[in-house]
């Protein structure tokens, strides 16, 4: 049942709507090479990389900005 005007009246709908399925290329981070500069964390438009440099693949859409911004090429985009 859709509400009038398709308003979402309960929070949390994004938990059900996992946008990671849109991804074609998946970022793989090599923690050995990583210098913990936080560039990828700050540039990720989806906030999908946490302070421990774990990538949230439920919501990462595979845009590749993290790979572009990594100064030591620790992130590689691999086809799903």
């Amino acid at each position: 049942m859709v509400s009038v005007g398709a308003a979402v009246k309960e929070p949390g709908s994004t938990r059900k709507n996992k946008t990671g399925s849109w991804r074609t290329f998946k970022p793989i981070l090599d923690k050995e090479k990583c210098i913990e500069c936080e560039n990828c964390i700050m540039f990720c438009p989806e906030g999908c990389i946490n302070k421990d440099y774990d990538i949230d693949y439920d919501y990462c859409k595979g845009c590749g900005i993290c790979e572009e911004e990594c100064p030591v090429k620790a992130i590689k985009m691999e086809r799903e």
Binding site: V4, G5, A6, A7
Partner: protein
Amino acid sequence: MVLKVMSANQAIAEAVKLANPNVIPVYPITPQTTISEYLAKFVADGDIKAEYIRVESEHSAISACLGASGTGVRVFTATSSQGLALMHEIIFAAAGLRAPIVMADANRALSAPLSIWNDQQDSISERDSGWMQIYAENGQEALDSILISYRVSEDKEVLLPSMVCIDGFILTHTVEPVDVPGKEDVDKFLPLYKPDHAYLDPKRPMSIGTFTDPNYYMEARHDMEVALEGAKKVITKANSEFAEIFGRKYDFVEKYRSDDADIILVAMGSICSSIKDVVDELRDKGEKIGLVRVRVFRPFPTDEIYEAIKGASKIGVLDKNVSFSIGGVLHNEIKAKMDVDAYGFIVGLGGRDIKPEHIKEIIEKTKNPTTQSQWIGLNKEDI
């Protein structure tokens, strides 16, 4: 009753004053401009307690309307032609988000070639948006239609926006006597707008205008279809209450000497006044001619039009618009929904004058049809 002499644009501004919206984002455009000017004056003088937003375009005007409506307040805007076309994207969004915005459209031709003069192509081109559309014949009806539109749009069974269409220059810039109702009567007819469907309130958070995946989109659109069809009942109720309070009775269609007519013309807007004169003249000569004026175009009053025209042997439909390669839109919709012998006539595009002799020519061509659809009033030497 005190009649005041005014243009349809002023009549609309007077109606807006009586409805007292809280937010009025308007961008001026010929021939709507004086509506925006009257409203600016009313707000400046404190006659309307509203936020008047001087937006930078019509896309912004309707966007501001939608945003304001999303906070749960009554809003108004007005535009014309290119302005309405620029609003197109948000016109659809406003209906989909079920924002009961009321807008006046001063009907004007669309470019190219650029024209400031009247036809109804602009609003007809928005017919699939989910907005209700009323075509007024005169200034009084323009004023009354604004009040009826707020009442119907804000009804919980409807919650869809409304467009009140008035013919550019013919109505917007000519004056006639108009009865401006009293505020107490209007307050009886039009209660305060109290939404409970979709509006932004920090105490009751919700998201409006979100992305919708294929599991939900079709239901939301189907709800609009149900609401627009359901609006017919609400319009009927509003019309009868309006008649009780103000003494003026409106309907989906107006039947003018059509009950026993053999030939019936169907049209919308101010041209109907000219047609009525021609009908009177021909009736005096014993010809059984009548007019059916379509006042509410969306929701499309199939049953009411059919009831009004089914007794005639032939029907002539006048359209101040064209859907290229298929003809006039009202003609085609009547043909699609009703088993009647109807012929289409494209008239008055870009302000081309429609004279009594053109209307008589249309009646003759309806009696002796040669084609399904034709253009009337073209300059012969240019063909």
